[in-house]
Amino acid sequence: MYIEVYNEREKTTAKVEIVGTRVKDLLNQLKLNPEAFLVVRNSEVITEEETLQDQDKIELLSVISGG
């Protein structure tokens, strides 16, 4: 399954092939701590337990302020 991921902190977009179906699988694969990110799909915030679909577009918003 391929997911398009925009990382707000890094300001990058990448297509990621993930093993697993949940948001937490994606974060785990990207080695990102869920405490440090909010996950948004179609302008809606989703939890770590949410199931992803092939070709989903995901935004990872940084929880941590810059300074």
Binding site: N33, E35, S65
Partner: protein
């Protein structure tokens, strides 16, 4: 995942259940208002100065302070906002744009003071001079000057209290940093109301977001559509705090409730710590240069300023 209180989709999984947008917003606001009431952070006739940067924490605390006043029929004309422009290239100017717009939209007067205007140099220019021999990061200079200018200008604005956007993560990090460095004197100044001694030269600082995790604050700001552009202080990754932050986030991920546990345990010990530290408090006096509060003849801000002038 569904909300524990209704059938809507959850936006966050908390330690004791999951909440949808609407129930999260209610939960968050109630938590902030309870904190204000429990610790008596805001008095009915007080003039309030909110320390703001334009980031999620300060916009949230400004918005909710105003909402608290309105909810309790307290006039909002005693509310003002104060920002410090440190002079960090490509950073602060961006957040100040959002901040000015936000204050205009919410009819809160905003005062902006800058390191350059007040101390003669921007942070970018000042810290390599001040830290030349000590090989320190800019955060020590920034911290001293920010606190100095906030206190000085809050007094000028006639404030009884300075309200800051410090959240649960900030506090847990500060507690652990002080423990790791055996700095009990600094730890005793933490808590929802900063400081251990009252003095005419100090404006009391209070923290309504004290029990709100950073993730919750970001979510609240997002759900309320506060315009916040993500910007990162170029120095933020250099500090000791950054390492503690990463460590605590790792613990929180593995063991939910870690940060809350740190803060709750600390609050239980804080009165004892404050009593102990009160025995050895330095005498507060006026700095002979600027007449602001100091525990020495010349305050740290003026010592740094002199270092620059003599360079």
């Amino acid at each position: 995942m569904q909300c524990n209180k209704c059938n809507n989709n959850a936006v966050i999984a908390l330690q004791h259940g999951s909440l949808c947008k609407s129930h999260f917003v209610d939960y968050f606001e109630e938590k902030v208002f309870k904190t204000i009431n429990k610790f008596q952070l805001i008095g009915r006739n007080e003039k309030l100065c909110v320390a703001v940067s334009g980031g999620k924490d300060s916009l949230t605390v400004l918005y909710l302070t105003k909402k608290y006043l309105e909810k309790n029929n307290i006039p909002t004309n005693n509310l003002t906002a104060l920002a410090v422009d440190e002079g960090i290239d490509q950073y602060r100017e961006k957040t100040l744009v959002d901040l000015k717009k936000f204050c205009e939209e919410h009819s809160v007067p905003l005062t902006i003071v800058s390191f350059e205007q007040e101390l003669g140099k921007t942070l970018d220019e000042a810290y390599p001079i001040i830290n030349k021999d000590a090989n320190k990061k800019p955060c020590n200079v920034c911290g001293v000057w920010r606190r100095y200018l906030l206190n000085k200008h809050a007094k000028k604005l006639g404030a009884d209290k300075v309200i800051t956007g410090h959240n649960l993560d900030d506090e847990a990090q500060a507690i652990i940093m002080n423990i790791f460095k055996a700095n009990t004197a600094l730890a005793a100044r933490l808590g929802p109301i900063s400081g251990i001694q009252e003095h005419d030269l100090f404006i009391q600082r209070v923290k309504p977001l004290y029990f709100c995790a950073e993730k919750e604050v970001r979510l609240y700001a997002l759900l309320k559509n506060f315009q916040i552009e993500f910007t990162e202080c170029p120095y933020s990754k250099e500090g000791y705090r950054h390492h503690i932050q990463e460590m605590l986030n790792e613990f929180e991920h593995q063991y939910k409730g870690t940060k809350q546990g740190i803060v709750n345990s600390f609050l239980a010990m804080l009165p004892l710590l404050q009593n102990q530290e009160k025995q050895s408090l330095p005498t507060i006096q006026q700095c002979s240069k600027c007449q602001e509060a100091s525990n020495k003849n010349i305050c740290n801000a003026c010592i740094m300023k002199e270092t620059i002038q003599n360079a």
